[in-house]
Symmetry: C2
Subunit: 481 residues, 2 copies
C-alpha cells in the first residue's frame, strides 16, 4: 500500500482535527467554552499511558507525587513580582461563591510555584531534608487570547505535569536542572518524540526563572512546538515567600529551586509526528491497543463464525501475553470500514484473519507504519508480534529523528533564513554574537521566534548575522505554535 503524507504535511491543522475527532481521541470545538476539549475514552487511555511513562521516570528518580489545590489567592500569586507580571493577563479569576462576592480573588492555577513554595516553607526546615522533589499532574488554566488549538494551545491544559524541587545551593539546583533534562530526554525517547534542546534567551524565560531550558519538536507543518521546559528558579521564589532552611554550616538561608513541566502537547506530538494520510501511528510504548484483529467473513455463515472464534482465540492469546489486543466483532461493518477506523486510531499492528488463515492455522499481520505484511503460523505469532512491536517502536523513533534533523538548516544570511522559514521548513540556526539586541533584531527581521541557543558549546567560525561581530554560538529561529 502506498504511504502518502500529503494531507498530513500540507494541511496539518485539518489533518489533526480530523484524527482527533474520527479517531475518537479528543472532542474539540464543540464543548461550549472556547479552548476547552473533552478527552474521549480512547484518547484518555493514550493519555494515561503517557502519564504512566512520565510517572515511572519521575518516581524512579526520587520524585514524590502530591496534589495541591486548584485555586491560588490573588495576594499569594502577587508575591513574586516578575511571576505575576508574566501571567497577569492570562489568569482566570474566581470572584464569587454562590451569590457572595469573595473577599480575595482566587486564581485558577496557571502554574504552582507560589502554592507549592508556600507549603514547602512549612514542611522543609533543614538541608538534611534536601534535595526534595515534588510533582503533580493537574489542570492549569490560561486565558489565551491567541487562537486556541486542540491539545496545543488551550485555556484548560488538562495534563500539566509540573515538578518542583528544593536545594541547598545554586549548584545543587543546577545539577537538578541537568537531571531533569536527562529525565525528559528519556521520556521523549520512550514516546518516540524527537526534540531540539535549547536555552531560551533572556527575553523569553519563564516568568521568575534565572534560566529556562526548553525542548522543542517540529510539527508536520514545519512549525516548532515547545514540549517541555526546565527552569532554574534560583532564590526568586524562596525570597519572595520568605522560605528559609538551615544550611550545613548552621546558617539560615533561602534555598534554591527548580521547576519543570510537560503538558498535553506530549500527547499531541505522539499523535502528530508519525502520521500519514491514513491517520496517526501510535508508538507501541503507549498505544492503548497494540494489535487489532479484523475477522474476514467467509462465504457461508458457519465458516464466518469459525473465523470469528479463531480470531477471538488468537486475540486472547495475545492478551494473556500482555499484548493488548482487541477483536473487532462488529458484524455490520465491512473489513474495509474497519481498516479505516483502526488506522485512524493508529493501532500499530493489524491482523486480518479469514478462511485461509483459519484453515492453515496462520495469522496475516500488517504493520500500520509501513503497511508491510507477514504470514506466520499461529504458534509463532506471539514472538513475531513482539519482534515487530520492537521494530515499529525503533523505526518510528529513528525516522522521526531523521525527519527532525533534516528540518534544521544553518544560514548566515538573514534574508535566506527568512525565506526558509517562510516555507515552513523547520528550524534555522544563524550565527549570533550573543547580544539581546541582535537576538531581538533577528526575530523582528525574520518575523519568527527565537527558540534559543544550544546548551553545549558550539564552535561557529562565522560572523553574527546582524552585527557581523564574531559569533559565539548559533541562535535557533522558527515559526512556532
Amino acid at each position: 500500500m502506498q504511504i502518502t503524507r500529503e494531507k498530513w504535511s500540507k494541511n496539518f491543522s485539518e489533518w489533526f482535527d480530523w484524527v482527533l475527532r474520527e479517531g475518537e481521541f479528543y472532542d474539540y470545538g464543540r464543548y461550549p467554552i472556547k479552548g476547552m476539549g473533552v478527552w474521549m475514552p480512547y484518547g484518555f487511555k493514550l493519555r494515561q499511558n503517557i502519564i504512566g511513562i512520565i510517572r515511572n521516570f519521575l518516581d524512579s528518580t526520587g520524585h514524590e507525587e502530591v496534589l495541591f489545590p486548584l485555586l491560588i489567592p490573588e495576594d499569594l500569586l502577587r508575591r513574586e513580582s516578575t511571576h505575576i507580571k508574566g501571567f497577569e493577563e492570562e489568569v482566570f479569576w474566581v470572584t464569587k461563591g454562590g451569590s457572595t462576592d469573595l473577599d480575595v480573588k482566587l486564581a485558577l492555577r496557571p502554574t504552582s510555584e507560589v502554592a507549592i513554595t508556600t507549603m514547602e516553607n512549612l514542611w522543609l526546615k533543614s538541608y538534611k531534608q534536601l534535595p526534595k522533589k515534588y510533582y503533580q499532574i493537574v489542570s492549569v488554566f490560561r486565558y489565551e487570547t491567541k487562537a486556541t488549538r486542540p491539545m496545543i494551545r488551550l485555556r484548560e491544559i488538562t495534563t500539566f505535569k509540573e515538578a518542583h524541587t528544593v536545594h541547598e545551593t545554586y549548584d545543587d539546583a543546577q545539577k537538578q536542572v541537568e537531571e531533569a533534562i536527562e529525565i525528559y530526554k528519556k521520556i521523549f525517547d520512550t514516546l518516540t518524540i524527537p526534540y531540539v534542546l535549547s536555552e531560551r534567551p533572556e527575553w523569553d524565560r519563564f516568568a521568575g526563572a534565572l534560566h529556562t531550558y526548553a525542548f522543542d519538536t517540529i510539527m508536520p507543518d514545519g512549525r516548532a512546538m515547545q514540549i517541555g521546559t526546565v527552569h532554574h528558579l534560583g532564590q526568586n521564589f524562596s525570597k519572595a515567600l520568605d522560605f528559609k532552611i538551615q544550611k550545613k554550616d548552621g546558617s539560615l538561608d533561602y534555598p534554591h529551586q527548580t521547576s519543570y513541566g510537560i503538558s498535553d502537547r506530549a500527547v499531541a506530538s505522539v499523535i502528530a509526528i508519525h502520521g500519514d494520510d491514513h491517520g496517526p501511528v501510535l508508538p507501541p510504548s503507549v498505544a492503548p491497543i497494540k494489535v487489532v484483529v479484523i475477522p474476514i467473513p467467509a462465504k457461508n455463515e458457519e465458516e464466518t463464525q469459525q473465523v470469528m472464534k479463531y480470531s477471538i482465540e488468537i486475540c486472547e492469546m495475545f492478551n494473556k501475553n500482555n499484548i493488548t489486543c482487541l477483536t473487532d466483532q462488529d458484524t455490520e461493518k465491512t473489513p474495509g470500514e474497519k481498516f479505516y477506523i483502526w488506522e485512524i486510531k493508529g493501532v500499530p499492528i493489524r491482523l486480518e484473519i479469514g478462511p485461509r488463515e483459519l484453515i492453515s492455522g496462520t495469522v496475516f499481520i500488517k504493520r500500520r507504519d509501513n503497511f508491510k505484511s507477514y504470514t506466520v503460523r499461529k504458534e509463532e505469532a506471539i514472538n513475531k508480534i513482539k519482534e515487530l512491536l520492537n521494530e515499529i517502536q525503533e523505526d518510528l523513533r529513528r525516522k522521526a529523528w531523521e525527519d527532525l534533523k533534516s528540518r534544521i538548516e544553518y544560514s548566515n544570511d538573514i534574508e535566506k533564513a527568512k525565506k526558509i522559514l517562510g516555507n515552513n521548513s523547520g528550524i534555522v540556526e544563524v550565527p549570533w554574537c550573543g547580544s539581546n539586541e541582535c537576538g531581538l533584531k533577528i526575530e523582528e527581521l525574520t518575523n519568527a521566534r527565537v527558540l534559543g541557543y544550544p546548551i553545549e558549546k558550539r564552535e561557529v567560525n562565522d560572523k553574527c548575522v546582524i552585527c557581523k561581530m564574531n559569533a559565539k554560538t548559533v541562535l535557533r529561529i522558527a515559526k512556532t505554535y
Copy 2:
C-alpha cells in the same frame, strides 16, 4: 501491647487532624484558602491505591474513563432547573479572564451531569450504542458555608469519581442503578469500609434525580457519613438538554440516565474506621507500604551494620515478591521513635530486626492491628507475611462490620431515639408510615438527619413513631457529617 481507642472515639476530630498531619497524609488548615487541603506524598499514594481499586471495578464492568473540562457555562448549568436550585448557593464562579470581564460566568463544576449530557447528545444517536457508561475522576467544588473538615467537608473535593450512564428505558436505568450498587458494595468491601445502604427520602434526593440511593458508614464519633450515592435521573437531564436517541422501535425519545459518585470520603473512612490511639491501621489492599522493617541497633557498630544489611536483604526479598516493603534506615532516630512514626502511618506489618534475628536467621513480625507478634525463619517469612496480610484484611473488615452493626439500634419511641442520638451512638431505626410529613417531623424532633429507608422490603410490626399508623418500613436517623 494494650490497644486503646480513647482518643479515637472520644476526640475523633482531634485524632483525625493529628493522624493526617503527623502521618503525613494530608496537610489541612494551613493552605491559605479555607476548605482546601494538600495531598502529601504518603497520602497521595494511599489515594492512588484507592483510585486504582475504583478504576478496576469500573473498567471491568464496561465503564469508560473520560475527562471533561472543569468549567461549565452558567447558561448550561441553569438548563435543569431543580439541579441549579440545589447547587446555586454552592457554586464558585469565574467571572474574569485577565482583566477582562467574561460575557458568561463560568462555574467550577459542582458535578458534571449537564456537561456530560451535552456531549452525549453529540456522541450518542441510537439505542445500539447503549448502555453507555462513562466516568471521570476529578476535582469538584462547593462553596461550603458550613464548617469544613479535612477530606470530609471540603470546598475542593479532589477525588470525585463520578459515573454517568445512558439507557434506552427507565428499567434499563434501574438495572444500572442495581449494578452500580453491587459495584459500590465490592469497592467498599475491598476497602474494608462497612456501610448502610438506604434510599434517601424525597426531600433529600440529589438535585435533579428521581431516586437517590446512598451508602453511609459510621465514623468513630458515632456520626453517619455519606460515602457513596447512586442516582436514577430518569429523563430529567436528557429532556432539559433536548438529548434524544433513536429507540429500537425507530422512534426518537429522551434516554434515561443514572449517575453515581464516590469521593475523598472513601479515603477518610479507610483512615478513620480501623484506628486506635496509635493511629490508623490501613487495610493491606490499599496500604502504600505493607511491611516496614525497623533495624534494631546492636552493641557495636559492626554488628549494627550487619543488622542493617540483613534488614535490607529481607526487605528486598519482600519487594521482589510484590509485597511493598521499606527499611527505615534513619540512623538518628531510635527504634521507639520509628515505631511511633510507622504506627501513625498505619503500615499493617512491622518487622523488628536486631542481632538476635540476624544470628538466628529469623524475623520478628508485629501486626499493627492487634500488636500480636510472631518469630519465623527467614525462609518462611514470605508465606507468613502473605498469610498475615490476608488475615489483617479480613479481620479489619469483620471487626468494622461488627462495630457498625452494634451501632444500629431500633426504637419505637421518639424520645428514646433522640437520647440515643444525643450519645452519638450511631444510627437509630424508627418505625415509619412512609409519609414525608412524619419523616420531616422525625428529623425535627430528634434534631438529627434522616438517612432514608432500606431498599429491600422490611417487615415492621409496629406503629409509625409519629402518627401511630401502621409502619411500612423503618426510617434511619443519625447525626451526620
